[in-house]
């Protein structure tokens, strides 16, 4: 069964020097409840793909080819009010600097209310109760609904944003580098939280990162992007044991292992195998 179907998706940027192909001929599926990771360097097109799927891309970016289908809906045909209602309800997005996505001038409760009202839920009591449940769900005391964002740590703000993203029970959660600004312990806590919520609520995740090791721990399948193309797709076990594309091998080798066989502090330090090309 398939939840999301991306077929031959191409996204271009119109620039003064002509058209730049940011994503070329991308095809993949995500099953309900599956976590798919897209890895690649800055500029590889991974965020472009994520944005196009949520229809968040803006000119000069445009989708030049392909199709995106989510649960039977032709996403690229959605327009105006239909698109607005579809977002958040069907697909929710958590961005890289999600901790800065909260309005510093509004209490958390007001930001939940804005979101619910925008999606047709107006009963104040219901909004309050559902907001409290959502905070509770991500392990934050609901009494803190009336606090301003600066009263929370970066990790807690990310949790609040994730709670908001899940408010309307979306089928797909897109997370674009959600933990890049956090340190490793907080990152791990947050992703464990997402993994728990996923098994409870059943949403699928499209997880974008450049941290391949993290991805191999968190995702059911991994896709590797290189210069706008999806060059390899498989389970973490496959990708670790037998990466087929040289670039995938190079990416693995760029990760300093915590427990290497032996670690000379001087001289060429690279582990065996291919190298990531130096600029």
């Amino acid at each position: 069964m398939t939840l999301l179907q991306v077929r031959n998706l191409s996204v271009d940027y119109a620039t003064e020097d002509g058209v730049v192909h940011a994503a070329r001929d991308i095809s993949f599926d995500i099953a309900p409840g599956e976590v798919l990771g897209l890895a690649g360097e800055s500029g590889s097109g991974k965020s472009t793909v994520a944005f196009a799927i949520a229809r968040l891309h803006r000119p000069p970016a445009f989708i030049s080819d392909g199709s995106v289908t989510l649960d039977g809906t032709d996403v690229l045909q959605l327009d105006g009010e239909a698109l607005r209602a579809w977002r958040w309800r069907e697909v929710a997005v958590v961005l890289q600097s999600a901790m800065n996505a909260l309005n510093p001038l509004l209490r958390v409760a007001d930001q939940f209310r804005d979101m619910f009202q925008a999606h047709g839920i107006h009963d104040r009591k219901e909004i309050r109760a559902r907001s409290a449940d959502l905070l509770n769900m991500v392990g934050i005391d609901p009494a803190r609904l009336d606090d301003y964002p600066h009263r929370f740590s970066g990790g807690m703000r990310q949790r609040i944003v994730i709670a908001m993203a899940l408010a309307l029970s979306p089928k797909l959660l897109i997370m674009d580098e959600p933990t890049t600004a956090l340190d490793v312990v907080v990152q791990r806590e947050l992703l464990e939280e997402v993994a728990d919520l996923r098994s409870k609520l059943g949403f699928a995740v499209l997880f974008i990162t450049h941290d391949l090791a993290l991805m191999s721990q968190f995702c059911d399948r991994i896709g590797i992007m290189l210069r706008g193309e999806l060059v390899e797709l498989g389970t973490p076990t496959q990708m670790v044991a037998a990466p087929r594309h040289p670039y995938t091998r190079a990416l693995w080798n760029a990760i300093p292992p915590l427990h290497p066989p032996s670690y000379p502090l001087e001289g060429p330090l690279r582990p065996q195998g291919g190298q990531v090309q130096r600029q």
Binding site: E41, S42, V184, V186, F218, P256, P257, Q279
Partner: protein, 296 residues
């Protein structure tokens, strides 16, 4: 061997409430060696860098450079001389370079300030040599502006800029955390020859203990402004003794080891709570210090 830069009982508190950002930090940087200072956001690692470069003056404790007490330095010219010996490389490769100036300007400016005897031609030659040291091609790079460089290239330019004044110490504050995973190691590779050939003493500040093993002979783990464990990097990673060090190591993403086998989040809060106290630092093996858990 006497350390190049050494702190004893460094404390720093901020504001009217005397919020302690750093308590009782004693570290030593040695010629040709690197110390990694590892900790999460808010652990006090950047405060430590600011004290060492004397952007801040510590509330308590001393800093010695080459045997001389620099805690008391006040005058502009004294501080400038000190800072020509102790240079920084910052986290953000985009913010650390002026977008309106070329790479050449960025490198020649410190040369003009700190080595006024150089002729114009000698300055340009020195700038080219600096770029070669960080493996950038002077012929194409000197004229470029920051926006024409990738993040990794900018960080190399920042390193070259720090090297321009022949420092004895380089403090690198999260130099790779804003770079792509795939180019982080190539930037860290730059450090080894600096230690070997220039005998520079390095302080590598990071939240990524895995890379500490890659560049640093010794590591100190900072939590809540205190060093909770310090010693040879290999020992710290292979035989961690403090619960917070263990937590950090557990949280490092490791290839192909799925979550779920261990629930870290349950453990994390408990470890944080017990790691805050002011127990004594005890030497558990030669050069390996662990802070005791305070019981009260």
């Amino acid at each position: 061997m006497t350390p190049v830069l050494e702190t004893r009982g460094l404390c720093m508190s901020f504001g009217a409430q005397k919020l302690a950002a750093l308590s009782d930090v004693s570290i030593a940087l040695h010629e040709g060696r690197c110390l990694a200072l590892v900790g999460e956001s808010g652990s006090g690692k950047s405060t430590c860098a600011k004290l060492l470069t004397r952007m801040l003056r510590p509330t308590e404790g001393t800093i010695h450079f080459g045997g001389e007490d620099v805690t008391v330095l006040r005058g502009r010219s004294d501080l400038r001389t000190y800072r020509s010996h102790v240079q920084m490389v910052f986290q953000d490769p985009f913010a650390a370079l002026n977008p309106a100036h070329s790479v050449q300007h960025h490198l020649e400016r410190p040369l003009a300030l700190h080595k006024p005897n150089l002729s114009r031609a000698e300055r340009t030659e020195a700038a080219s040599a600096l770029l070669r040291q960080v493996e950038l091609d002077p012929a194409t790079t000197l004229r470029k502006f920051p926006h024409e460089l990738s993040g990794g290239q900018r960080q190399r330019v920042n390193l070259a800029r720090a090297l321009a004044v022949d420092p004895a110490v380089i403090i690198a504050d999260e130099p790779t955390s804003m770079l792509d995973m795939s180019i982080r190691l190539s930037v860290l590779d730059m450090f080894a020859p600096l230690k070997r050939e220039r005998r520079i003493a390095m302080l590598y500040i990071t939240h990524d203990i895995a890379t500490a093993r890659y560049v640093a002979e010794e590591t100190a783990v900072l939590y809540g402004g205190r060093i909770v464990e310090m010693g040879p990097t290999d020992r710290l990673i292979d035989d961690p003794r403090h619960p917070y060090t263990k937590l950090l190591l557990e949280a490092v993403p490791e290839i192909g080891r799925p979550f779920g086998s261990t629930r870290l989040s349950v453990e994390a809060d408990r470890v944080r709570a017990i790691s805050r106290g002011a127990g004594d630092l005890r030497e558990v093996a030669p050069g390996h210090f662990v802070r005791e858990i305070a019981t009260n």
